[in-house]
Symmetry: D2
Subunit: 349 residues, 4 copies
Amino acid sequence: MAETMKGLILTEKGKVALGERPIPKPGPLEALVRTTCVATCNTDHEIVEELIMPPAVGRFVGHEGVGVVEAVGSEVQHFKVGDRICVPSLTPSWDDITTQKGWPQFGRGGMAFDWCLTRDGTFGEFFCVRNVDMNCAKIPDNVNDIQAVMVTDMLSTAWNGVEKSEIEIGNSVVVFGIGPVGLCSIGAAILKGAGRVYAVGTNPKGAELAKMYGATDIISYKDGDIVEQILELNGGAVDVSIVAGGPASCMAQAITMTRGGGSVCSVNAFYEDVVIPVASWNSGMKTQTIKGHQCTGGRDLFERYLAMISIGRFDPEPIVSHTFKGLEGLEDCLWAKKDADCIKPVCVL
Amino acid sequence: MAETMKGLILTEKGKVALGERPIPKPGPLEALVRTTCVATCNTDHEIVEELIMPPAVGRFVGHEGVGVVEAVGSEVQHFKVGDRICVPSLTPSWDDITTQKGWPQFGRGGMAFDWCLTRDGTFGEFFCVRNVDMNCAKIPDNVNDIQAVMVTDMLSTAWNGVEKSEIEIGNSVVVFGIGPVGLCSIGAAILKGAGRVYAVGTNPKGAELAKMYGATDIISYKDGDIVEQILELNGGAVDVSIVAGGPASCMAQAITMTRGGGSVCSVNAFYEDVVIPVASWNSGMKTQTIKGHQCTGGRDLFERYLAMISIGRFDPEPIVSHTFKGLEGLEDCLWAKKDADCIKPVCVL
Amino acid sequence: MAETMKGLILTEKGKVALGERPIPKPGPLEALVRTTCVATCNTDHEIVEELIMPPAVGRFVGHEGVGVVEAVGSEVQHFKVGDRICVPSLTPSWDDITTQKGWPQFGRGGMAFDWCLTRDGTFGEFFCVRNVDMNCAKIPDNVNDIQAVMVTDMLSTAWNGVEKSEIEIGNSVVVFGIGPVGLCSIGAAILKGAGRVYAVGTNPKGAELAKMYGATDIISYKDGDIVEQILELNGGAVDVSIVAGGPASCMAQAITMTRGGGSVCSVNAFYEDVVIPVASWNSGMKTQTIKGHQCTGGRDLFERYLAMISIGRFDPEPIVSHTFKGLEGLEDCLWAKKDADCIKPVCVL
Amino acid sequence: MAETMKGLILTEKGKVALGERPIPKPGPLEALVRTTCVATCNTDHEIVEELIMPPAVGRFVGHEGVGVVEAVGSEVQHFKVGDRICVPSLTPSWDDITTQKGWPQFGRGGMAFDWCLTRDGTFGEFFCVRNVDMNCAKIPDNVNDIQAVMVTDMLSTAWNGVEKSEIEIGNSVVVFGIGPVGLCSIGAAILKGAGRVYAVGTNPKGAELAKMYGATDIISYKDGDIVEQILELNGGAVDVSIVAGGPASCMAQAITMTRGGGSVCSVNAFYEDVVIPVASWNSGMKTQTIKGHQCTGGRDLFERYLAMISIGRFDPEPIVSHTFKGLEGLEDCLWAKKDADCIKPVCVL
């Protein structure tokens, strides 16, 4: 086997270039994966353009990827060479007390992208995965690589947040955002029994997909105040709000339009403080559950989610708007998300 | 308005006959309903043939019914004459501490069928409903009477039990029974995100409907041991079992084939003791949640469930196999359920 | 029986005076109570000095009170003349769909103080209670009036919020505030199995009581940054934070010092927006449960809480720092809370 | 260091003898512990007298033990030589998907006692612990060895079951059994806010301890039917039942005397089928949560529980009725539990 691999290196702030890196050797609990498909989300831009994770410089970029197991460490039990696997964007160590406290995603390697800090990213010929038995899932035969790469971050982020939002059958649900995470959130709300689903967004292509995934109403700020529109259509406050896109002010809108005792869950990343408006929060007594959720991850979760694609209950592939090919497609894939027309770009290797 | 109404009276053990009864006057929180559609389930046979609720003699039979509000009591806030309403088979008083303890269905008028004890049943031209504001829901315009009568007991019994079974997206689920409650349970499991759904039953028509409602596998005792078949197909224990039909031994099978930490919920009525087999219960340490559930009821719940039919996410009408007409159809409707070929009979008035 | 009753009337903004009002007649579900003990909290000052509920002008003030049933409405089942009863500060109607959605406290008469809008308050010889069967609890013989009046608002507000905060045995808990609600929150945290309990406050008398109720550490801003002190003492983030006093900035501190996946619950009233600091909220991905809770109320809850005093597991009486007597003591009781030295004033009638 | 260690070997069915065994070497995630205190429970008798786990023959007996870390494997992060540690009776591997499904105790090494199948037990000079970082907790300085050994199985079994029983403040609770697990269950019910606590048992010493730990009533079959006595004292059904001892019929009694919607949890081991009586189970519609619980274990849990002893909120030492000394005390300790007078025997090495 060769000793080096090609991939897209973050060379300096704002710049990437194809280059070579040594092929890593998997540790006892790790797997080396031959990349077959990768994808880009906004966080990649933050890392490349804002250098929010400085150690990433000099390494391959990318945190969403699927592939085929090329080699496994000595202690790996569940995977073997040749397995097609779905690799979560976050791969905590699962050997930490956080696992027992119910937030394994905050364990070692969790909150920060492991590859940024210690490894090469997914935008190369190979990448190495921490604790593969606990983090990764085999991809069912009838699930393709593009579907699977959508699960690594977009779908799992959305679905796990929605799973934790306690939707009851027939509940009214608002989803802020009709990008990839928003669209997957709409789908998850339907999968958990939502009744009327209001999708907030303006992108025409996103709106079309939102309807396809089950949104009953598309709400645009162009038609007036978001909160007022939804309160009127719904005949009052909604049961559950999911914030899957937009600025911090969406949280205030969500809290305002969700009923007392209801649930507000964000699966978004914010870059500014969130303000809870005292007036519409009943002076602090609205008795809602407010969460800023991060996917807990784990093999069980990824197996469950992939099963839904395999059985045919959900297909994330229509969310992919741009498909690139080969190593030379990686940089275009990286920047494609800047295109207003782009919902989700992937690159097939 | 006339002073008497016609309907099917339980005259003596095992016998019914059309007859007349005084039209009741609604109390302050009650409504008088002009019946438009009724349905029969096995409990009606128990009441007529076994006299399990003796005060029912001399009164109209029937506990599933929908209709149009004919008159309302002085304190009714939410309903008015002319409203089409869905009336739950159990109508507790909601003025009891059980409401606050989370099991309103055990409040006054809950556990026992109110009409058997103090009122005429639904198999007549009119019937009177206790605490209509808290118990009943308006039927959406695009939901027909046959769909709505399915919600009064079969669908609400099934769906509420499944809602309380904590299905996670992609979980494997077994449903025992492919009668009306079983079929609605399969549908509810899908609505709550189930992955693979095993339906246990042999009736060919039921099996066909089970597939239509989302069962991925139909399991019959004719093909071998139920537990062994499912463990093999599923590659091990399932996450959740719903017992929606069958004898008490189904509970033992469900406990056996459900994983440690999983959930077993019955929405069935049993007439014999349930045995938890110590061996497959890990000597009492299998850490499952075992429930025998009764629908908690209430307007909110019925509004949520009817909304799902209105939006088009579920249609119970295909479960109705036999439709009768008019007062003269009531007795045939009552006995139709004895026909092996019958899934669910209704009578349209 | 006399036709008028004496009490403390809110005559104009900022002013109160003893006067007479007609004795109300209880409706069918109501009770007339002869007042035996009342208490004051800050909300009374807001109502009197800021007129935040304008209809209160011309009526008796006061929302905390216990007494003896003088008369009951025709539909009352659970109470009879002569019963000593504990009356919650909020008495919703329980005949609303909010009851079924799990937030009865938002039902009719819930969020707003019923007496401000339609009735006289508790600071008089008699007051009338809405839906007494669902709202009130009999006071056990060995619980005195002063203990019981503490349950009407302070203790029930605190305990219900803590009950909803999912404390596990041995969890570390921070309680902001060592006034009456804070002290009851400390006690509730202990009752639910808290391990180390950090009480945040400076009042020396409050601090002494905090220790008596189980706080292991008293944290004062005078000794340095609250967050830093607690993180150091606790060896890292705490499991649960309860905000039972202080300005909105306490919420930001609580979110910061509570671990990922932990719980932050306010039982406070805020008069300014709450800011969730993005940096210590992991950009929205800290996966905490954040609540602004209001007591759900109800007879069951009040019976449970009073039982704990009766059995001897908790005694709120030491929180009462000032005791006044008779009608002529009402005004002093009202203003006593302004005294820096005052923890909780009551007036015994 | 010596190559062999002395301890109590299970030589053949029903027989034990002091003997020597090779000192094991800890694997990468393991620790070797120098035993300081061990204890016996009924399961030891089952293993010795009934050979329910045949591989135990030829090895040291015992599954409850605490000690001092003598050596650690290369990957151990949290413990070092000299640490006093509390070792759970079950030490699963935590590297299995069961961890993610919420029942780690069923993972590799969980359900079966690891030491019976592959290791020497705790009744010797040393023993080796699987995955020490995830399973064990340091013993706080002010917690003695006897207190700590009570946590390894009795206290943790009881407390974890009670934690999962959703006791609300002031709930009425029945605890079946006043042996070590029952006594710890009573204590846990109090720690979680129980109001009235009925302890079922006849042993006078146990009854005395039950009162000390907070039971308000001691119920003996000698005074009449258990169910009738409790229903009368409680004025109706209780909220929660904990079965911590007794035959399978206790489950039927618990289900009968617990209210609809209530919780019944066993932390007991059964050796016969459990029968759910259909009549008192409302034909399967009593809507209770029934559990047969096994402690989920883990360092976090043991740290939390030990903290409660350290802070002074619970002391398990009074449960220890017999204390033996040294290697020569081990066999007496093993059989002491047969003595009717014995609540819990320990042996200090």
